[in-house]
């Protein structure tokens, strides 16, 4: 086996980092995924699996959660990982000044974490949370050695991951990951080392994988599949789930504050057409909510059909008999967003809805447009249902991009959180999805599948449904 060359689209240049708490873009998350491990691993189907924690249990109310850590897990510096490291890590990432994790882990307070003994960690949380393990396995919650501060973490890896980095320099074009000899799981990692490069240009990335200059390239765009498919040395590996592409309307702003308008705007969407064009078929249909149709939590498994006539009628009822004109903002912040906007423009036109597509600059999109414009395109990586629903749709959600405040929905989520029986919970989730789809302000026609191109002489790698997660310990090439 030889050193593997791994290509990701972006590596934020100077901003790139190997500190789990401040991971930001794909490159960062690759770094973190290769160097660090969480106690709970979210697998490709977005279910919680033990990793550094062998097992866990909770009290009936789901307010006290106890995790039992693996024994003999070593950090890269040779010391053993114990509960105090876990506690230290959580306390660190929950501190608002450290990073942004605090936002997503709002349900835990630094004080809630405690170590019972060297291998047992306990969380005392205020409100019941049935899917705590799923949520605690957050993308930032990677365990680093206790007492090691941001400065060291920026230069050197202090994790338990299968690979390690001796000295990290963000301006280096190539990051060299060396296999970690004392990795706890025997026989891993498979590859002696990995060289991480970033090739932002899709064409270049395709060329590089086609000519074997790199062994793995993630986030391949449908437009290059034709070429790669014909190449016998390359195989395309899709992820199980995908990123949902959405058009978010402010439900508290005219004309979207009228639910009939929102429904009309959803009805004009031809989901299949969008899938076939914008994604060239590489994805799944979505029903205006972040839950995949294939998931058991989905409220219906068939696409919502298009119905222009109904849309027209709804608009008329809402007081727009001869259509309306609206501005839609999009940016090149996720594959297909701009195309989606244009496609939607065409479809809406047939219902008398005139959409002006404004393309906003990529670099300022997230802070000038998103959450600021009443109708804007956005994208969400695949998440476990619990977090997917809470992160952007709760009334008090930090990223409530639709300004949607629905007490009924909030109640459903709270109920679900305190419901331990999976079946019960599922029903509640389905209710919630339905609400989003029918009353919410998000138009979500499709999920874009993440697809990685891998040289045929390489093995043991599949892209994760959530682009924030990478697992490369079994990746290897001849």
């Amino acid at each position: 086996d030889r050193c593997v060359k791994f290509a990701v689209p972006e590596r934020g240049g100077e901003s790139s980092s190997i500190d789990p708490a401040v991971a930001f873009n794909q490159g960062d998350f690759f770094n973190v995924g290769a160097l660090y491990e969480p106690i709970v691993w979210i697998d490709n189907n977005l279910e919680a699996k033990p990793l550094l924690a062998e097992s866990w249990e909770s009290n009936p109310e789901a307010t006290v959660w106890t995790f039992h850590l693996k024994h003999g897990v070593k950090f890269h510096d040779g010391t053993e990982m114990t509960s105090k490291d876990v506690v230290w890590t959580y306390q660190r990432i929950l501190d608002p000044t450290t990073g942004v994790a605090a936002k997503e882990l709002a349900f835990v307070k630094p004080g809630d974490v405690s170590a019972l003994d060297d291998y047992t960690v306990q969380f005392h949380i205020g409100a019941p949370l049935a899917e705590f393990p799923l949520l605690i396995g957050n993308k930032f919650a990677y365990i680093s050695k206790a007492g090691v501060g941001a400065d060291e973490l920026a230069k050197k890896s202090y994790g338990t991951g299968a690979f390690k980095v001796e000295n990290f320099n963000p301006s280096e074009p190539v990051v060299h990951f060396a296999a970690f000899k004392d990795y706890w799981e025997a026989g891993y990692p498979k590859a002696p080392c990995i060289d991480l490069v970033s090739i932002s240009e899709i064409v270049a990335r395709a060329a590089a994988i086609a000519t074997g200059e790199v062994d793995v390239a993630t986030n391949m765009d449908p437009s290059v599949f034709a070429m790669l498919k014909s190449n016998p040395d390359v195989k395309l590996i899709p992820a199980a789930r995908g990123t949902v592409l959405m058009l978010a309307m402010f439900t508290d702003t005219a004309p979207f504050n009228d639910v009939r308008v929102r429904q009309a705007m959803k009805l004009v969407v031809d989901r299949q057409a969008i899938l076939d064009t914008v994604l060239l078929g590489y994805g799944f249909i979505a029903n205006d909510n972040p839950i995949a149709l294939s998931s058991a939590d989905a409220f219906r498994s068939d696409p919502i059909p298009r119905d222009v006539a109904k849309a027209k009628q709804l608009l008329a009822e809402a007081g727009y008999p001869n259509g309306l004109t609206i501005d839609l903002y999009a940016g090149d912040v996720a594959t297909g967003l701009i195309s989606l906007a244009q496609a939607y423009q065409q479809m809406a036109a047939e219902a008398g809805i005139t959409v002006n597509v404004n393309i906003a600059p990529t670099e300022t999109y997230w802070d000038d447009v998103w959450l600021k414009r009443s109708f804007a395109a956005t994208a969400w990586g695949a998440r476990p249902t619990a977090s997917a629903l809470s992160i952007a749709y709760r009334s008090d959600a930090k990223y409530n991009e639709t300004h949607w405040k629905n007490p009924e929905f909030d109640a459903l989520l709270d109920k679900a959180n305190s419901t331990l029986d999976p079946e019960e919970r599922r029903k509640l989730y389905q209710e919630a999805n339905k609400l989003i789809a029918e009353d919410g302000g998000a138009i979500g026609p499709v999920f874009a599948t993440l697809i990685a191109a891998v040289r045929t002489n390489c093995d043991g790698f599949a892209p994760h449904s959530d682009w924030n997660r990478v697992d490369v310990k079994s990746l290897h090439c001849q």
């Binding site: 240049g13 790139s16 608002p96 301006s171 074009p173 064409v203 270049a204 200059e213």
Partner: protein, 318 residues
């Protein structure tokens, strides 16, 4: 000796220009709408983080004062401050990238000279003949192809189809010169072509202008060969506007190189500049733009000096 005085004058003015640029760019960064700090953190900004960034950028200090502090540090301590995103000295970050880009630019320039001069000379000498027309059509076609498209086409041909050159130029260890050249040929070629088509066009027309001059006929009647006439009498007198084009081209290399760098994944200065712009890393942006401006201005200085040396009349004019 008059020339000497002129040149020193130019030098002084170039410095002045540089200061002008620094002011412009600083203002431009300052007046960019929205809060710089929040832009850096973008989607995941938290009040605490914002506060810390603001503090690091001294956003509390009034702009004018900040400008002069900044300029002073650059001028007197060659200190560009620290990058916001990776809390490192800007100088350290930029230095290697500048080196890379200069390497690339050097190769591009070597390719550029023949690509610009030879066709122009051929065309001027075979004016209005098929060769001339043929070359100018080729020239025009190349001119009309956007550089990113040109690069893409070159990549598909040379990388995917024939596999002569690598797709990614900057990421391999380029220990030996040979390897380096092999790696950067394509990006350099792309740059060279996009620049040359422009310059050679210019040069051809100037050459033709000059070739009509009586002193050219005189030179011919001295018995000089076509080539000698061209090199000794025509070129020097037709180079002046071309020099300016070349200077502009250099600006292009430094500024527009980003597209080529992106395309061929070359860790150069241009991408750094655009990246830092996208990251809104103010100190980095200011530094990079300032440096690229400096390079361009330097090139211009050379062009002006060249013009002074080439056209004695200017010395009297000034």
């Amino acid at each position: 000796m008059i020339a000497m005085r002129l040149i020193t004058g130019r030098l002084f003015f170039s410095l002045f220009t540089l200061v002008l640029v620094s002011a412009l760019i600083f203002i431009a960064i300052e007046i960019v709408p929205g809060d710089v700090a929040s832009r850096i953190l973008g989607r995941d900004a938290t009040p605490a983080l914002l506060a810390s960034v603001r503090e690091r950028m001294h956003l509390d200090v009034p702009p004018v004062e900040r400008y002069f502090n900044w300029l002073g540090n650059i001028a007197f301590h060659a200190d560009f401050g620290r990058a916001l995103t990776s809390d490192q000295p800007v100088g350290q970050i930029i230095a290697p990238k500048v080196l890379n880009t200069l390497k690339l630019a050097a190769v591009a320039f070597l390719l550029y000279l023949p690509l610009a001069l030879i066709p122009a000379a051929l065309q001027a000498l075979h004016r209005e003949r098929p060769l001339d027309h043929g070359l100018s059509v080729i020239n025009l076609v190349l001119l009309s192809i956007p550089d990113f498209l040109l690069g893409t086409i070159l990549m598909i041909l040379f990388v995917v189809n024939w596999q002569w050159f690598p797709a990614i130029a900057g990421l391999r260890d380029t220990a030996s010169l040979g390897q380096f050249l092999w790696a950067v040929t394509l990006p350099a070629l792309t740059l060279a072509i996009t620049m040359a088509v422009y310059a050679s066009r210019m040069l051809r027309d100037n050459l033709i202008e000059v070739l009509d001059a009586e002193y050219i006929r005189m030179a011919e009647l001295k018995g000089l060969s076509r080539l000698a006439v061209l090199l000794r009498h025509a070129l020097p007198n037709s180079l002046i506007p071309t020099l300016n084009v070349t200077a502009l081209n250099l600006a292009y290399i430094i500024g527009g190189v980003v597209i080529v760098e992106r395309l061929f994944t070359y860790p150069g200065f241009g991408s750094l500049m655009i990246d830092s712009l996208q990251l809104q890393d103010a100190p980095l942006v200011e530094a990079t733009v300032l440096i690229s401006a400096a390079i361009y201005i330097g090139a211009n200085l050379l062009a002006d000096i060249g013009a002074i040396l080439l056209n004695p009349r200017l010395r009297r004019a000034s």
